[in-house]
Symmetry: C2
Subunit: 385 residues, 2 copies
């Protein structure tokens, strides 16, 4: 259906001929020109099997010739579906998850459009304000559903949206809600930090620290647990090498300084955000150390700054394009009513190794560990689902 309604520009390849607004063809004009009725034209697009092949041919020919596309408003009015997805535009904090949500929006638009949907964005300052805008969009029947990003503990939005009977999918797990009534897609942060630990262990590191966020942040804790799990599984003595503070470059620097001052300092740091990682690199610089040579650092999110810094920052990259694909697929399934019970989808990120992670200095820790690593390719597959 989407395919039939979203043909190329009329007249085949080459730049589309511009059509002034006052002479956009309606279904009636197509019908008259093809010598059939409205409904037959409608069927040609929405239920081609109902037409005799030759009739179908003729009608499609006229549709293409005139460049007819059904009016969104009229169709929306009749069918009570807008073919539009609403999505809050998230603030792009420079150091933090900045680039991620930007990538998400791009991928979301692509995925939606390929299914015949459009994306409507809005910018708000708080969750409460988001609810207000969603409410407005729903009352005006401007969207069919929402993509919700940045879920967190105590998030009031899912509950509200559920109560409103709106279709929506969350990017992010429903932290704190063991039995959520809605669908979600998320990235397995723990798997990411775990792979980071394995990556570093594979480079010979055994004292691998972790810069995490204060307890109580969903994604932060998740990523922290991945580090915990992996170091424990590898039998690494790292339990004291943990620093926790609010996200940010300054925190990262402060935390790293503390850990580096320990009698037995870490030789590598897994950070749950790029901002923390940048701070850690700063702390190293201050001591005349070089990230990736003296101490390795791995960030999280692979934000734009990661590849710009020097040394370039190794970071855990999220499969955002796959996330967007899944978000759209799940949301549309729910809108169409195909999907009755909430679906869950957890995708794996992978480590992008750059200069900030390098081999452990021989003898620096007085001990080497042998580890078997999963091949990076096994992780990368997730992206090209």
């Amino acid at each position: 259906m989407a395919a039939a309604q979203r043909g190329r520009a009329p007249g085949g390849p080459g730049r589309a001929r511009a059509v002034p607004r006052d002479k956009r063809p309606t279904i009636e004009m197509v019908a008259k020109r093809a010598g059939v009725s409205r409904q037959t034209v409608s069927n040609a697009a929405n239920a081609p099997h109902r037409l005799r092949p030759e009739t179908l041919q003729k009608v499609l020919g006229v549709i293409d010739e005139l460049g007819y596309r059904p009016s969104k408003a009229a169709r929306s009015l009749r069918t009570r579906s807008t073919q539009v997805i609403g999505c809050r535009l998230l603030p792009s904090n420079a150091g933090g998850t900045g680039g991620v949500l930007d990538r998400l929006l791009h991928a979301l638009c692509d995925a939606a459009r390929s299914k015949g949907y459009d994306v409507l964005t809005f910018s708000v300052a708080s969750d409460d304000e988001e609810i207000e805008v969603c409410d407005d969009l729903l009352r005006r029947s401007a969207v069919d559903g929402f993509v919700l990003a940045n879920t967190h503990y105590g998030d009031v939005r899912p509950e509200w949206l559920t109560a409103a009977g709106v279709h929506f999918v969350a990017f992010g797990r429903p932290w704190g809600d063991a039995n959520p009534a809605h669908s979600w897609v998320d990235v397995d942060g723990a798997a990411g930090t775990s792979e980071a630990v394995h990556h570093l262990a594979g480079l010979g590191h055994s004292r691998i620290g972790c810069l995490a966020l204060p307890e109580g942040s969903g994604t932060g804790d998740d990523r922290f647990h991945g580090w915990q799990r992996a170091t424990a599984a590898l039998g690494l003595p790292c339990s004291t090498l943990v620093g926790r503070a609010e996200d940010g470059i300054h925190s990262g620097k402060a935390l790293a300084e503390k850990l580096l001052s320990l009698p037995e300092p870490p030789t590598a740091l897994v950070c749950v955000s790029d901002a923390l990682a940048v701070g850690a690199v700063r702390a190293l610089e201050d001591r005349g150390l070089v990230a990736g040579r003296d101490v390795s650092v791995v960030g999280f999110d692979d934000s734009p700054v990661a590849s710009v810094l020097r040394p370039r920052l190794s970071s855990v990259r999220q499969p955002i394009e796959a996330v967007a694909q899944n978000l759209v697929e799940v949301l549309l399934a729910e809108i169409s009513g195909t999907q009755r019970r909430p679906s869950r989808c957890l995708l794996s990120p992978w480590v992008v190794a750059r200069e900030s992670s390098g081999p452990a200095l021989a003898g620096a820790t007085g001990r080497t560990t042998l580890v078997t690593l999963p091949t990076p390719d096994s992780y990368r597959k997730e992206q090209t689902r």
Copy 2:
């Protein structure tokens, strides 16, 4: 009108009560409950002056009580206007103009919403594809107009859109078209680099170089001319201190290295992009020099990386919020037909001084220049229009 149609959630302050889709009130329900006709309800929202104060009061009361908002589809079908603005989502190249277009989209959504409009975004890979999507959106009557970003020489989009009779406004001047038929809003890049030169001259620099893009890029040339104009006006001997190359960190580094190897090297560099500036800083580091102490560097765009780098990068910041406001205002004026002839609007950016620009070392250049500087505030005003 917009105000009347976009009231708060029903029931005054506090979180809006969710309304399931199957019982969203129509104008007819409001009419019945208020004991008036459809049209009177419509008038209450669109032409309040036509109602007797007490009737108005009563109708508005019911509207608020039921949380009625006119259906977008129905209204759009009848009035032939969608109250939606289309906008291409631009690729956010990490080092370059990345953050700028992200900020623009945020500001655009805010500005549009405050006028009762929504923003529909799409992501495409080329100008031709953009035309294709615009054509599709227009044929389906999905938008009233477009905001066009990233204009450049030989841009085919304005011509196409004009031919289509579509309302649109460009962010960016119509480079190469002396007599454009469309409206635009842009930032005065030359004024930005000029202010950067004055800023540096005020710090005592007289050998101020420029890292620019190859000739032929609209914004690049514009910014370069600002440097040219300012250094000439101040009588600074800088004409040889110019490097031009494609945008990027590597180019910036290479260009800076060349200039720093001159017999009389620059003591300060004005760069037409942050990416070039980052490259320049790298070149300095390689020579053991510190930006802002030994050689000053000023970038352009104030991208997120600027404040994350060390030393933090001085950069020319664009008044994006004001740009967005103007874009929306001009576009809506054009859609409403108020504005017949194309309007033009050029806003001034300003220098955000950080650590990468500092006083010239005494005696380093053998010559000091006295300059009167415009107060930074005069520039800053532009933002809060």
